[in-house]
């Protein structure tokens, strides 16, 4: 299992560790290789030693492709083993134009390797979603070598956590919009702020936004612009930011929210959606990228991030208990049928079986 780095609460790390545990239950011998690992209860080897570990062409290297990195590109070209490209998508660089030249370059470099990986005809392209796999199929990868496997996650831990409301605003009945995810241009926070402003104007002046997520210091200009926009929309006292929310706090946030409002413009899968679904929190979202596939109708999905439409959706959810219950049930059913751990394990088993069926 090869990936750039391992860290707790990181979606790619969670997926890699989940796959590792599942593969070991299948009887496979799995070793983790990463450039850096922090607070991981698992031995992690340096990537340059990976070839010493490979003893047979039947061995499998699963590379978690989530950023530009030359080492695996060269490795997979020369490797005498079966190659699985686990693709978590890379945000298109256009989202970061004008905010961070570094991000633009990194995303461009990462996506520039898509052609090379597609041309490599890896034994299996394992995307988090059909949206992700499209990146390879459009570049000539054999669709028969593509499979979809949602990412392994820690939603079960979230379900088991006891809610911690100490850092949350008081439950006074005010409309509460929740957004979970890192603060970045692709997450469309400006539209979210507009939606909050519309909520204050049309639903309830006490409407607030719980923004759970961190801002990368390299995107400081975006953070400044976001704060400016918050002031322009006069919602300075209505935005509560939680940067390092614990599982218990996140659990409490989902419980307090009228809806998870996901207006992100680009998602390869969107883990917060399955968190909301598992916890029964209704979802109001923009139907971009992989979001419609992840939800499969278990939410109010819109084609545009119109602030008044979002505000009206919140108002409707608050005033229509049947709608709220229906969306909550749809979400939980979607989670159970498609994203529960047992389902993912079975999906991985099927993916490994497909890998075995690929001719050498």
């Amino acid at each position: 299992m090869l990936l750039p780095g391992l860290a707790p609460y990181d979606a790619v790390s969670n997926d890699a560790l989940g796959m590792t545990a599942a593969l070991r239950t299948f009887g496979h011998d799995v070793v983790l290789f990463a450039l850096h690992a922090k607070d991981i209860d698992e031995p992690v080897q340096p990537p340059e030693t990976i070839e010493r570990w490979i003893e047979s062409p039947d061995d499998v290297v699963i590379y978690h492709y989530c950023t530009g990195w030359d080492f695996p590109l060269q490795l997979l070209r020369r490797l005498k083993a079966r190659r699985v490209l686990r693709y978590h998508n890379i945000t298109p660089p256009e989202f970061f134009e004008g905010w961070s030249a570094g991000y633009v370059a990194a995303c461009a470099d990462g996506r520039a390797q898509l052609d090379a990986y597609a041309a490599m005809q890896c034994e299996l392209y394992l995307g988090d979603s059909p949206f992700n796999n499209r990146d390879f199929v459009e570049r000539g990868a054999d669709p028969a070598r593509c499979a979809v496997l949602p990412p392994f996650h820690h939603v079960e831990r979230l379900l088991a956590a006891q809610p911690d409301t100490r850092r949350l605003p008081d439950t006074d009945g005010a409309p509460t919009l929740l957004m979970v995810g890192r603060i970045a241009p692709s997450k469309n926070d400006f539209a979210l702020i507009d939606a909050l402003a519309a909520c204050r104007e049309t639903v309830d002046p006490r409407a607030r936004l719980l923004r759970v997520g961190k801002l990368d210091p390299n995107l400081a200009t975006y953070g400044i612009a976001m704060r400016e926009h918050i002031r322009v929309r006069d919602v300075e006292h209505n935005v509560i930011t939680l940067e390092d929310a614990s599982g218990a706090e996140l659990r409490a946030a989902y419980a307090a929210a009228d809806a998870l409002v996901m207006l992100s413009a680009h998602e390869g899968f969107c883990v917060p959606l399955i968190e909301a679904m598992a916890l029964g929190t209704p979802i109001v979202s923009l139907g971009s990228s992989a979001i419609p596939w992840t939800l499969q109708g278990a939410g109010l999905v819109w084609d545009e991030a119109d602030p008044h439409v979002i505000a009206a959706s919140i108002a409707r959810l608050r005033g229509d208990p049947d709608l709220r219950a229906s969306l909550s049930d749809l979400g939980m059913e979607r989670y159970r049928s498609a994203f529960a751990p047992a389902v993912l394990i079975e999906g991985l088993r099927e993916a490994m079986a497909r890998l075995d069926a690929v001719p050498a």
Binding site: A225, H229, L300, A312, R316, D320
Partner: protein
């Protein structure tokens, strides 16, 4: 439309939500709060373009000139930086005499400008006129009329421009003057720096020369050391030779020691043979008894007795056994060693040399077991010292007969008569009453 009831339900709900949103949008548009320092709610990204402002007066946009004017026009009217082809196009228009109103109008009333929708008060009529003058004939006539009508304004502008140019010229001249002064100061500073550089260079050169000299000296010393090191083989040869010589010397010393040891052993054996022979022992015993008897009659113990040539100490042992304070002097180290082994007080020295160091009138008795010197001068000295060292009335006994029966010693010690005459002439009174056939007995006068 999906046939799933749930999907139908959701679609219906979404349609209702859309309708509510449309109504709310008209009723309650989104708030836009004016921030401090801005005329309306601004949203300025880090590229400096004020995307929130959509209303300007034409005078706000025509104050800049040339490229700055065109750049600003793009940023205000299209809310983006100027692209190179677009900017180039407008600059060329200005260069051929187009008015700023025409350039502003080109941007504002382009399809992109219309989408952005910035309002510029006073632009439309000016832009219309600017376009009208391009119409053949009518446009030409209109331009003439406008030009004639604008002559007073142009003259005013010209006078203003002249004044402004003059003012700018004065400014530029003043700036040039300042630049010239600054340049002079810089030149002076440069000269100073150059001088410092030259001085430093000279110092470096001097130090370099000194270092070169030291290096040359070092080289010479190094060469001398090398030469010395070159002499090392010879030195080594010498050292080896000296070492060999010293080893040989040690061997010689060892041989000498061995010879001395062998000699000593032979001497010991000889002495043992001489003094240990039975007949020699008997003879010495008898003589010793005679002498003791003679002495006891004349000087009673514990008289101080010195025996010169005491041999192996037999005589002084006998004296000591009878209470005399007897000391012997013997020149032969082996005999002296034998006497000391018997715990006798014996000095190993030349007997009469040692006598010369004795104190005056210090002794009661002196016996010469080894006889007197044969040389006349030495005899005279000896007899003088014998008399000096004896107390007045002290006794002198001299052995005159060779007593070694084996004849090993080369010569006899001398005869009694001769010795008696010498002793009598030296301040002694002879005493023949002891009837000693082998010795002379005399008393110091």
């Amino acid at each position: 439309m999906s046939s799933d009831p749930t999907d139908e339900y959701l679609e219906r709900v979404k349609a209702e939500i859309r309708a509510e949103a449309d109504a709310a949008r008209l009723r309650k548009p989104l708030p836009r709060k004016a921030l401090p320092g801005s005329s309306a709610g601004e949203t300025v990204r880090n590229d400096g373009i004020d995307r929130g402002r959509l209303d300007y007066a034409i005078g706000e946009l025509t104050g800049l000139q040339y490229a700055a004017f065109v750049d600003n026009a793009f940023r205000v009217l299209l809310k983006r930086p100027a692209d190179e082809p677009g900017k180039d196009r407008q600059l060329r228009l200005l260069a051929v005499g187009a008015s700023k109103a025409e350039v502003l109008g080109n941007l504002r009333y382009s399809s992109e400008g219309r989408r952005v929708g910035v309002r510029v008060r006073g632009l439309l009529p000016r832009y219309a006129l600017a376009k009208l003058v391009h119409v053949p004939i009518i446009g030409y006539l209109l331009e003439w009329l406008l030009a004639l009508a604008a002559v007073p304004l142009l003259l005013r502008h010209q006078r203003g421009a002249d004044t402004q140019n003059a003012a700018r010229f004065d400014d530029v001249a003043a700036q040039l003057m300042r630049r010239a002064e600054e340049q002079q100061a810089l030149a002076a500073r440069l000269d100073q720096v150059q001088r410092q550089i030259d001085e430093t260079r000279a110092q470096f050169a001097a130090r370099a020369e000194a270092l070169e000299q030291r290096a040359a000296t070092l080289e010479l010393r190094t060469q001398a050391l090398s030469d010395s090191i070159g002499d090392l083989p010879d030195l080594r040869h010498h050292i080896l030779a000296v070492n060999h010589w010293s080893v040989s010397l040690q061997q010689s010393f060892a041989e000498i020691d061995d010879a001395a040891t062998a000699g000593a052993e032979r001497a010991q054996s000889l002495i043992a043979a001489m003094y240990g022979a039975p007949d020699a022992l008997a003879d010495r015993e008898a003589r010793g008894a005679r002498w003791l008897a003679a002495l006891q009659a004349r000087a009673s113990a514990p008289a101080r007795v010195l025996d010169l040539g005491s041999g192996d100490g037999d005589w002084i042992a006998r004296l000591g056994a009878h209470g005399y304070d007897a000391v012997g002097v013997e020149s032969n180290k082996f005999l002296g060693a034998r006497a000391r082994e018997r715990a006798l007080t014996v000095v190993v020295d030349e007997p009469f040399t040692w006598l010369a160091r004795c104190a005056d009138e210090d002794l009661d008795v002196i016996t010469c077991s080894g006889g007197l010197p044969r040389n006349d001068d030495a005899l005279v000295d000896a007899l003088a010292h014998l008399r000096r060292a004896l107390k007045p009335g002290g006794w002198l006994m001299i052995d005159c007969i060779q007593t070694q029966p084996t004849g090993v010693l080369p010569e006899p010690r001398g005869d009694v008569a001769r010795t008696s005459r010498a002793v009598a002439a030296s301040g002694f009174s002879l005493d023949a009453s002891a009837s000693l056939a082998d010795a002379v007995l005399a008393q110091r006068r």
